[in-house]
């Protein structure tokens, strides 16, 4: 069962049975990532927390309408973005509307090199490479890798073309690949020179 299926199941339990336990389960499942996403845009923990609460108030109030959502994760992120935009506009923080200004975290880089059978040195390089990705690129990478959003869903959420998402993903992977010396040899073979 994919995560979207799991969320759909919870949403329909909430809608049909008014089920508070399922509501709580859904909250627990999504709270962290929605808060991170809210924080990326709003840059305030308090506001991000309120944002998640606002999303779930909406969920409870509109629960009957939620059973027909095709991609619940995209729905949650889109709702988070829209509610965050409302806040920014009220506060006249218009610069923050641009995804280039959003500071997203990537959670799925292992802490111990043993987990992936790689050297500590390589893992440190990877961590650094992820941290140094441009904000929009990092955000796209996170949404695709950790939330399993499709390229077209990310494109829709961030108002980009699918081609841009594709290119940003390639940049992210290429930078990570560099930590593993992938380009050194081939670059030499092909006569390229590396920038770094």
């Amino acid at each position: 069962m994919t995560e979207n299926d799991e969320i759909k199941r919870l949403l329909s339990t909430i809608a049909f049975q008014n089920d508070q336990a399922a509501y709580k389960e859904l909250f627990i499942l999504l709270h962290k990532r929605l808060k991170q996403f809210g924080y990326a845009i709003l840059k305030s923990n308090e506001e991000a927390e309120e944002l998640v609460s606002d999303i779930f108030i909406k969920i409870w109030e509109k629960k009957e309408k939620l059973v027909s959502i095709e991609s619940p994760l995209l729905y949650f992120y889109t709702t988070a973005k829209n509610l965050a935009f409302n806040r920014l506009q009220k506060q006249k923080r218009l610069k923050s509307l641009n995804p280039e200004e959003w500071l997203m975290q990537v959670n799925s880089i292992p802490l111990n090199p043993e987990e992936l059978m790689m050297t500590a040195e390589m893992l440190n390089k990877i961590k650094r490479a992820v941290n140094e990705l441009p904000p929009r690129c990092k955000l796209i990478f996170k949404l695709v890798k950790e939330d399993g959003l499709k390229y077209r869903e990310v494109a829709e959420l961030l108002q980009l073309s699918v081609k841009t998402v594709e290119a940003q993903m390639a940049i992210a992977l290429r930078r990570l690949g560099r930590c593993m010396h992938i380009e050194l040899k081939t670059a030499a073979n092909l006569g390229f020179s590396l920038k770094k």
Binding site: E6, Q20, K24, F27, H31, E61, L116, L173, R174
Partner: protein
């Protein structure tokens, strides 16, 4: 597009499940021509698959704040979560999680203690009223107790507790198998009584298997610590440490018949205190592939058996599939088996068992006879 750029676009599409068949083929050819990429590709694929550890330890607090905020804003939500819904409506609810979600339940519900102890006291309540939740053979259920503790009831099991549960003490009785995730409350220990043992806990995660038709009562501890008292030896207290399993031989009355043919007659047991009880402490069975605990896998809809006799497995399969199994061949009954049943039907399961153990079976309706 350059050679390199093209590779990275295709490779990231492959990882994201966005690549078409043609693109996959193109990528394959690129890789074939550049075998030195292999190492990095492998590492990136591993990295891609790595998902963040599910840590939901802060979510409970956040949820409480959210409910509080909703209330302040006047959003109608019905009862508050520490005032549980009537158990009856939950009784029929089958709530089954994926493996990951189950892990979340185990990790996350540790902190549910924050909800406990604030039960609305209703002075007019009839004190001795009893709640009973039972599952039929072939079905399971998840129960949330008024203190926030979670109990998963396996097939053919029964959990009872008084209506005033949690007011002064937390006591339940169990017949059958339950996976307990008890919220911490040092003031009010959580006590589980089964036919042969009492278990006292302060807050932990463990599995109790106490079917009346089984030869043994098993207590498997995953986290924390619990104190077990055997009813026939009330002065001995056994403290279990994590990863330990306590097995208590149930007191068997009368003659144990052939030992493989199970009928209603030879499973009726009454407590005779002078028969000594056999007790042993063992280690839990970890699945080497993903270090899950075999004893608790039923909550993920898996029936795992490790070195069990066919006749013991048959009893579990009876509950699992809601069938009646009779083994007429003693040699087959004593055969030791290993395996996992998950989505198989009873027929598929029997067919699979036949591959390692030669036997014949007839199935008519809910009855299976094994020769």
């Amino acid at each position: 597009m350059g050679y390199q750029e093209n590779f990275w676009v295709l490779f990231s599409k492959k990882l994201s499940n966005e690549a078409t068949t043609d693109e996959l083929k193109e990528l394959e050819n690129l890789i074939k021509d550049n075998s030195e990429w292999q190492y990095a590709i492998q590492n990136l694929e591993d990295l891609w698959k790595h998902q963040p550890a599910k840590d939901y330890s802060h979510e409970d607090d956040a949820y409480m704040l959210h409910i509080h905020r909703m209330k302040e804003l006047g959003v109608p939500f019905g009862e508050m979560p520490d005032n549980q819904m009537p158990v009856k409506s939950k009784k029929k609810r089958m709530l089954w999680y994926s493996v990951a979600a189950a892990a979340m339940v185990i990790a996350g519900f540790f902190l549910f203690g924050s909800f406990s102890g604030k039960n609305k006291s209703n002075k007019n309540q009839i004190v001795r009223e009893v709640n009973e939740i039972s599952t039929r053979p072939g079905s399971k259920s998840r129960v949330e107790l008024p203190d926030g503790s979670i109990v998963w009831l396996n097939a053919g099991s029964k959990l009872t507790y008084n209506k005033d549960f949690g007011k002064e003490k937390r006591e339940v009785t169990l017949v059958g198998e339950g996976f307990f995730d008890v919220t911490k409350n040092k003031e009010k220990p959580f006590i589980i009584s089964t036919a042969s043992i009492n278990i006292k806990v302060l807050g932990t995660v463990f599995n109790v298997k106490a079917y009346s038709e089984d030869k043994q009562t098993e207590t498997s501890l995953l986290h924390g610590s619990i104190e077990v008292t055997i009813k026939s030896r009330p002065n001995d207290k056994i403290i279990l440490s994590p990863s330990e399993k306590l097995i208590v031989e149930n007191q068997i009355t009368s003659v144990v018949t052939t030992g493989f043919k199970r009928t209603k007659e030879n499973i009726t047991r009454t407590a005779i205190p002078d028969i000594s009880t056999l007790v042993s402490i063992n280690k839990l069975t970890y699945n080497p592939d993903d270090s899950t605990v075999a004893e608790a896998q039923w909550i993920n809809n898996k029936l795992i058996f490790r070195d069990e006799t066919f006749s013991d497995l048959a009893v579990q399969m009876e509950r699992w599939y809601n069938v009646n199994i009779e083994i007429k061949n003693e040699k087959v009954a004593q055969q030791r088996l290993n395996g996992t049943l998950e989505t198989e039907t009873i027929t598929q399961a029997l067919d699979a068992l036949q591959e390692t153990t030669p036997f014949r079976y007839e199935k008519t309706g809910n009855k299976v006879v094994i020769h």
